[in-house]
């Protein structure tokens, strides 16, 4: 063990048992002061459990944690914060209806006779925020801020409360590349100011760029902790995360000779400006653009959720009506927000999968039990959903497996066109490539697929043809291939010409 002044946090033989699973299995590693310490691993590797023990949300089963050389244990999140450990959760903890300033001081208000008084504390908070991001006005309502700016408010809150350790769980999941760069600058600034950052992300490029140290976990076990400078490349990390890997590059196909399935003519609404494009049968189309470029709006229009002018011609007929009509005509959507739009969290896998095509498991509106069960089992095997029973509630599955259930739903709908809105958000590397292989497999069987993504890697990995969106305008159409100019794509997608 190193000297304790060098290590702000020492984790020794940490164990956490849940009924039937050892989520954290004898994990030991140290976290150096003033570093960005990255934590990587597939969903279910034990990262979140470890973090929840640190923040007091879970109690450990065995093991010791030393904070600044002293025995540390938090019984609840407040104790963790009092000990200088702040957390930025995936789900932001800001209150939309309050102003930035009120959010900063939430839970820390000084009161006199129950009334809130302004204090030096508030001033310090506002100062810190100004240092980090001068463009955010403290009197503005948080609901007006973008996700990225909300995050910055949370970071300012953590920094101003003199947290020595800030844990960030997937902070970039919904940020655009520009916003990510801004976040990284802020994190580097924090490091200079004596803050240790524990950084969890599925995006390995970020870790290579930002991290000082990286710890890899797999199946609840600690695999390795080493300086990022000693990691050769991302495939080495992937290797450690999932054991044996074979990544297969996508070979885009010549698709111009295929017959068209969908034609969009002059689609416009408040967010979209005169979009015209086409999708051929069996083709995989990518829409690449930053957050706010109109991807989700286009997906919503196509699926009949949002209003628009213009026309979608699908299989020779114009589309009209809502999602149920879209599904009936052969379109299925994997929505952007899995938790709020995709899954039925407290229902079982069996009840989730057939939702979009109940006709297939019923006879005269009565559910055939054996079909119901058979369908669930079939898709669990087909998509390799990790579960021991069809009767597991979705909320108890990892993000990647939840996403596979959402895919199962859409596949069972037996559609000709699949719309995927950010299909691998918050999904681990293993599940990610499984999802890509499902997509390729489907297109080989003649299903057309539209992928909306703000991850260029994802688009390049899976699409035949790419449309670039910026601010609701279709900027360019590019054929994917080995010689595709990624720098140019990013240039265009960020507003360049």
């Amino acid at each position: 063990m190193g000297s304790s002044n060098e290590h702000i946090l020492e984790i020794r033989n940490l164990v956490k048992d849940f009924p039937g699973v050892r989520a954290v299995n004898d994990v030991s590693f140290n976290i150096k002061k003033n570093t960005v310490h990255c934590l990587v691993g597939e969903n279910g590797a034990g990262k979140s459990t470890l973090i929840k023990i640190l923040t007091g949300a879970y109690q450990r089963t065995e093991g010791t944690i030393l904070l600044r050389g002293e025995e540390y244990s938090a019984r609840n999140p407040k104790e963790a914060r009092d000990n200088g450990i702040a957390t930025l959760f995936q789900e932001l903890n800001v209150v939309d209806q309050l102003t930035v300033e009120e959010n900063l001081t939430l839970g820390l208000e000084d009161t006199k006779f129950g009334f809130i008084r302004s204090s030096t504390k508030i001033k310090r908070m506002v100062e810190t925020l100004k240092d980090i991001e001068p463009s955010i006005h403290p009197k503005h309502r948080v609901s007006r801020l973008s996700v990225a700016k909300k995050q910055i408010v949370e970071i300012a809150k953590a920094a101003a409360s003199e947290a020595e350790i800030i844990i960030m769980d997937e902070p970039t999941a919904s940020l655009s590349e520009k916003e990510i760069n801004r976040l990284f600058t802020i994190i580097r600034e924090l490091r200079k100011k004596n803050v240790t950052v524990i950084y969890i992300s599925h995006r390995l490029d970020e870790i290579m760029e930002l991290g000082d140290m990286v710890t890899v976990m797999r199946d609840g076990k600690h695999i390795a902790t080493k300086p990022v400078s000693e990691v050769k490349d991302r495939s080495e990390l992937i290797h450690m995360m999932i054991g044996k890997t074979v990544f297969e590059e996508y070979v885009p196909r010549e698709t111009s000779s295929m017959e068209p399935l969908l034609t969009a003519k002059g689609i416009s609404n408040s967010k979209l400006k005169d979009l015209s494009f086409h999708v051929n049968k069996g083709e995989i189309i990518g829409f690449y653009g930053l957050v706010g470029s109109g991807k989700t709006e286009l997906a919503s229009a196509l699926y009949g959720i949002d209003r628009y002018s213009g026309e979608f011609v699908f299989k020779g007929k114009p589309l009209k009506g809502g999602p149920s009509d879209a599904i009936a005509s052969g379109i299925a959507l994997v929505p952007e927000e899995r938790r709020t739009q995709g899954i039925f969290p407290n229902l079982t896998i069996r009840m989730n999968i057939p939702v979009m095509n109940m006709k297939h498991i019923t006879k005269r509106n009565i559910i055939r039990d054996h079909l119901d069960r058979k369908t669930a089992k079939e898709y669990i095997t087909k998509l390799n959903i990790v579960t021991d029973t069809t009767e597991k509630e979705l909320s108890k599955l990892s993000g990647g497996n939840q996403q596979k259930v959402v895919f199962s739903k859409c596949l069972f709908a037996d559609s000709d066109l699949l719309i995927l809105d950010e299909p691998t958000r918050g999904v681990d590397v293993g599940a990610k490539s499984e999802i890509y292989s499902i997509v390729r497999h489907l297109s080989e069987q003649g299903t057309s697929i539209i992928v909306f993504s703000s991850e260029l890697q994802e688009i390049l990995y899976s699409c035949d043809r790419i449309y670039l969106l910026f601010d609701g305008v279709l900027k360019a159409e590019i054929k994917n291939g080995p010689d595709v100019d990624t720098a140019k794509i990013i240039h265009i997608a960020t507003g360049g010409m």
Binding site: G322, D369, E393
Partner: protein, 348 residues
């Protein structure tokens, strides 16, 4: 084509996927737990309350609670979708008064409480049920079309229905000049006091259980309650289903109202006060979650009997009605806390 293969994934794939949990589901667990509570409450009542363990008491209990359970069926369905229906008590009263008013002989008398429309009883019943479904339709319109919270809309529906009852019965009751058939449902009995309400209740509960477990309609209740947005995006016509539920709920409340009026041979505008809350209480007491997506009609049946035994016992022990409320409140809070605790323990 596989892009990625790992040793563990391979193993997981081979592993047998079972279609049972190995243990019982959370719902079955809660139902068993509440049956346990029911048995305990019943045993204690039988021991400490004199004349409780008695055929007459039992059958009275069954009859009283049957009326509540019929209402509870509709309310349970709505609660499973994550919504509320507080209009049912008012609809019961409205149904009773309307069925009397429609059936009363038309004497053209000055004193209008004794003179009705003089329609044949069957027509009176049909018209009453249509009016009740009208209240449900109004509820549905505001909830589905205007997107107003169901608690507010159905509070309005409650006043609307009760108001109609009050106006037509002049704040009192209509019990003069009713045709002999009016009392038919109420008089009908199998043994002792076991009447038509009990038979209806049993049949309706069986149908409801079938609908809930085996039909697409039932499956959609849970989907809407678990995540309405996801249900919409999955092509389920959630608005239509929610509207249907409010109409069904008002219909069932109407049936109860007609049965109760028949039993008392009177359309009483102040009957069934607080039934909307009792119906909600038995639903939640039995284990249906107010957050939606979890529950069963059988929960309402269990809840109704727990509540019924408590009320009857306190009554028979001679305590004033005020302490009855106190005991009920206490038991309800304890029972719901215990459910949450048991579920949390189970799902760590």
């Amino acid at each position: 084509m596989t892009v990625l293969t790992t040793d563990q994934e391979g193993m997981k794939q081979i592993k047998h996927v079972s279609d049972s949990k190995g243990t019982i589901s959370n719902l079955t667990f809660i139902i068993f737990a509440m049956v346990g509570v029911l048995v305990i409450v019943f045993t204690i009542a039988s021991m400490i309350v004199p004349r409780f363990f008695d055929l007459a008491t039992m059958s009275n209990l069954l009859v009283q609670q049957s009326e509540l359970i019929i209402i509870g069926i509709g309310v349970t369905f709505i609660v499973i979708t994550g919504r509320l229906d507080l209009s049912v008590g008012g609809v019961v009263a409205m149904a009773g008064v309307l069925s009397a008013y429609f059936a009363q002989a038309n004497t053209r008398a000055e004193f209008s409480l004794s003179s009705g429309l003089g329609l044949p009883y069957w027509l009176a019943v049909v018209l009453t049920l249509i009016c009740c479904m009208g209240i449900g339709a109004v509820n549905a319109l505001f909830i589905v079309k205007f997107k107003i919270a169901s608690i507010i809309v159905t509070l309005g529906g409650m006043s609307l229905a009760r108001g109609i009852a009050m106006i037509i019965a002049r704040g009192a009751q209509r019990n003069v000049g009713l045709p002999p058939e009016f009392g038919f449902f109420g008089r009908f009995s199998i043994i002792g006091t076991i009447n038509l309400a009990v038979c209806f209740m049993i049949v309706l509960v069986l149908i409801a259980l079938f609908v809930e477990k085996k039909t697409v309609f039932g499956r959609k209740l849970f989907l809407i309650g678990s995540n309405k947005t996801a249900a919409d995006l999955s092509g389920i016509k959630t608005d239509r289903q929610i509207a249907q539920l409010y109409i069904i709920s008002s219909f069932l409340a109407g049936v109860t109202g007609i049965l109760m009026a028949s039993k008392f041979c009177s359309g009483n505008s102040s009957i069934a006060g607080g039934y909307e809350f009792d119906a909600l209480v038995i639903t939640v007491l039995g284990g249906t979650s107010i957050h939606g997506g979890f529950g069963s009609v059988i929960c309402a049946v269990i809840g109704a009997f727990i509540l019924g035994i408590l009320s009857t016992s306190v009554n028979m022990l001679g305590y004033p009605p005020a302490s009855q409320l106190l005991v009920r409140g206490f038991v309800i809070v304890i029972a719901i806390l215990a459910q949450r605790y048991a579920l949390n323990k189970r799902n760590v």
